[in-house]
Symmetry: C2
Subunit: 302 residues, 2 copies
């Protein structure tokens, strides 16, 4: 019997590295991407076309895209606005990520735009992506709670998801940006979204601030979600989101999924090597919550 596939997009090289103190060179980030590829990670968020002045850790995105040209893999880059989109296209990017917001406060803090402006920019890019023949992944940031405005109503996220999918977003990522969601809320929201749209164009993105990352992954799996963002070595956090800690670690998610019989296509030993590389380069990576057990298990089986 063939195992059911789950897609893991590793957002460590962008979302993770952007949010930790040590700044890596583009070449170091390419090394991490290559280590992930060697472990079988096919979907990787490799960089961001933001101003290097605003986010020095992401400088050199064009160089990274160029280095990865023609390599087998689904490499995405984040863009903050139409200008970033144009730079990304020029650099040869084929999968573009945009962020929209479940809450006004977080849109202002993170993007210095209103929620409506963020959405309008995203819609413009979605329209342009058709003739540019690139795929768009849209993340709904603060899909559960906003550090400034509090609870985000599920109806807001539901309506936004519907508009984005209708306008041609290839994937909509429901993001628990500050890591506050619990599995009951996740289950409820994802039940509705999967019920309305099916699972093929949905993704979940969890942070592990309250240690409920894996519980939330399981809850959304139960709702039918088959695509997740995760971050190698658990790197991440968000400087603009008080109390947020790292993304749920790719190692933890892959371990749980593979043990439950899903096929992630990712080799756990190779992933641990990529994680080790991230830990060495950043000097600031947890390696995920199951790391002690994973190391012991892999040593025992080597």
């Amino acid at each position: 019997m063939s195992r059911e596939k789950v897609i893991i997009q590793d957002v460590g090289p962008r979302d993770g590295l952007q949010n930790q103190p040590k700044i890596l060179t583009p070449q170091q980030r390419v090394h991490i991407v290559r280590a992930l590829m060697a472990a079988g990670v096919e979907h990787i968020q490799v960089g961001s076309f933001v101003s290097p002045k605003a986010v020095p850790a992401m400088a050199g995105a064009a160089e990274i895209v160029s280095e990865l040209q023609g390599q087998p893999g689904q490499f995405s880059v984040l863009v903050p606005n139409v200008k970033g989109y144009e730079l990304a296209i020029e650099a040869g990017a084929r999968i573009i990520e945009m962020v929209v917001y479940g809450s006004e406060g977080f849109s202002q803090a993170n993007a210095h735009m209103s929620r409506a402006q963020s959405e309008a920019a995203c819609m413009e890019i979605l329209d342009r992506s058709v003739e540019d023949d690139v795929r768009i992944i849209t993340t709904i940031s603060t899909s559960f709670d906003c550090p400034f405005d509090g609870v985000v109503e599920p109806a807001v996220v539901e309506a936004l998801t519907a508009r984005l999918l209708e306008r041609g977003s290839s994937v909509v990522v429901v993001a628990d940006t500050i890591g506050s969601a619990d599995p009951a809320r996740v289950r409820k929201l994802m039940n509705r979204l999967v019920g309305d749209h099916g699972p093929d164009h949905l993704c979940c993105h969890f942070h592990d601030t309250r240690a409920m990352g894996l519980a939330n992954v399981f809850a959304s799996l139960e709702s039918g979600v088959r695509r997740f963002d995760a971050s190698v070595a658990g790197v991440g956090g968000c400087p603009f989101a008080p109390g947020a800690s790292g993304n749920v670690a790719t190692e933890d998610v892959v371990m749980m999924l593979e043990q439950m019989g899903f096929d992630t296509g990712i080799d756990q030993r190779g992933l641990m090597e990529a994680s080790q590389l991230v830990a060495e380069l950043t000097e600031n990576a947890s390696g995920g919550r199951a790391a002690p057990w994973l190391r012991q298990m892999l040593e025992a089986s080597s």
Copy 2:
């Protein structure tokens, strides 16, 4: 609308403290029990009537039971055999815990008896408990995997659960002794057990070795389970179970349940104080996985 109740039995003073290097005095253990009571924890496993030579950390169980006599709470003690049962009854214990085994290898290693002998001892105690008018809680150790024999067939656990409930066990605890279970397996097994027996006499007991403790709690909640063992400060492990780490922390479980709208009756601030006491006394307690967030949250709201 009244919130749905979930019972948390804190097994820290027994299962937790038995399995960490520093030996506490009976009075220190009573202090921990009182700190848990002050936090609203009603169900507490307070000691074990095993040979103090075999398990020095549990010496003085009679003293602990006597100290707690007449106090409000559901205090249980573990007994390894009929002799331990008699000592517990003599000391005035009213809730007795027994262990039976899903696997032969672990029964031999832990109890120096065959699975059948462990079950026979338990059945004899169940019969005697009727005239002694005490309640019996039975834990099925290695309900998922055995460190020696590998996978435990769900049918074994199902049949054992049925026999124990039929013979009058007030609660049957399905225990993932080595912390190897994943939420998909938990869901499958607990679906069947709750389907067959209802939730009132079932409990789940998870270790957090692979960081899936909270995911497993959520999975069993989804199956209808409304009672869990957990260990304050995440103390625990098992010297005879290679690779096992601590029990899922009471702090983590209470945080998740309360956030999801369940009523545990436990005050998170008081629980953190009990956890702090355990950390100070044992010098060896993780405080659970969500501890950094919980501390920050409680400070912010004080």
